[in-house]
């Protein structure tokens, strides 16, 4: 599926550029994006280093396990295939907390760490596990209390009330997250039936 989407994005771009008679746009767009991808990864390396370093300290001190124990019932319901004391739970919880609080640069490091831990539990290493699917469902549509970036943008655009969209965002993300959790559960069941 991702192969088709990826090829379609590029093909659509090339067709559109050819029709409008500016094929040179394609190479400019491709090369500048390739360079900024590496720049982004290097910046992320620094941020990842900071957050995972801090997480390691919290982990060693027993804080991550404490958090996991507090939210055990919720996690057992969402991730029945992950043992309650597994390190994946801590990383998942930290990622979701960062998403909810709008701390985008902390969410990605914890999220990638969580994927790594979930992969340790995964039987078929090239196929997504059910826990991974649930985790990414929560991640692509997470409840957001504080859309920090957009508030900053509204502030600099001279809004009379930059935070007035907090309520609407909360509502929209609550709907999106419910849809994600429900469709994940339904599709998981359908997939299991298809296999069995």
């Amino acid at each position: 599926m991702i192969n088709i989407v990826w090829a379609a994005l590029i093909a659509a771009g090339i067709v559109a550029a050819s029709v409008s008679g500016k094929p040179e746009v394609i190479s400019q767009a491709a090369f500048s994006a390739a360079v900024s991808a590496v720049k982004y990864a290097l910046e992320l390396a620094g941020i990842m280093g900071f957050w995972l370093g801090l997480m390691k300290i919290a982990d060693e001190a027993g804080l991550v396990r404490l958090l996991a124990r507090l939210l055990k019932p919720l996690m057992r319901c969402l991730f029945p295939s992950v043992p309650a004391d597994h390190p994946a739970i801590g990383a998942v919880l930290l990622n979701l907390s960062a998403n909810i609080l709008g701390l985008g640069n902390a969410a990605t490091p914890f999220g990638l760490k969580a994927m790594r831990e979930l992969q340790n539990l995964n039987d078929g290493k090239e196929t997504a596990s059910e826990a991974m699917c649930t985790f990414l469902a929560l991640n692509t549509a997470c409840l957001t209390l504080m859309p920090t970036m957009i508030i900053g943008l509204r502030f600099s655009a001279g809004s009379a009330n930059p935070t007035e969209i907090v309520g609407t965002t909360l509502f929209a993300t609550a709907v999106g997250m419910s849809a994600a959790v429900i469709s994940d559960m339904l599709l998981r069941k359908t997939c299991r039936k298809g296999r069995g």
Binding site: I14, I26, G53, L103, G111, L118, C133, L136, T140
Partner: protein, 177 residues
């Protein structure tokens, strides 16, 4: 309410750091050595995802810069008008699942040209703050651990995006109109 949440968000990171360090020191954790070993792992993951970032970001950039969005937006305009949705936000809705940076650029442009407190500005703000970039998250997160078959993940992500989009339009019209 929004003010309280804003304050919590502002203080969360510094307080979290102080709390973790204080608690770890009480437990006699070797904080510096621990931090370095965690940071090492972070660096390795960041390097590992570079090929996936290059693949996704180049494809999205070609798609965006070639003007495909304008063509699609032109086609969907009629349908949007009959549904009472401002067609100006269509490019944002299409871009949102692909690229956070791309969508942010479109949202910023809408907010600046129509004003942050206009209907379009509020709608763009709500939509931009509401979902994550489904394709990007899937490609990078699955790529980082070598998973090649995503199963039903993409479907779930897109269902969630569509639900969030509809919910944004509903609530903004309900509260601000």
């Amino acid at each position: 309410m929004a003010g309280v949440i804003a304050e919590v968000s502002r203080w969360f990171v510094p307080l979290f750091i102080v709390f973790v360090l204080f608690y770890a020191c009480l437990k006699r954790v070797k904080v510096y050595e621990c931090f370095v070993s965690g940071a090492e792992e972070g660096f390795a993951i960041a390097v590992r995802i570079i090929p996936y970032l290059v693949a996704m970001m180049t494809a999205v950039s070609i798609f965006r810069n070639a003007g495909v969005l304008d063509i699609i937006a032109g086609l969907g305009e009629k349908a949007f008008q009959t549904l009472h949705i401002p067609p100006e936000i269509l490019p944002l809705a299409i871009m949102r699942p692909f690229s956070g940076g791309g969508a942010l650029g479109i949202a910023a442009e809408l907010i600046n040209s129509y004003g942050p407190d206009s209907l379009i500005g509020r709608l763009a703000s709500t939509m931009q703050g509401s979902t994550d970039t489904t394709f990007f998250v899937l490609a990078v997160y699955f790529g980082s651990v070598g998973v090649k078959r995503y199963r039903y993940s993409l479907a779930v992500g897109l269902i969630a995006d569509l639900s969030t989009f509809i919910a944004s339009i509903y609530i903004v019209n309900k509260i601000f109109v």
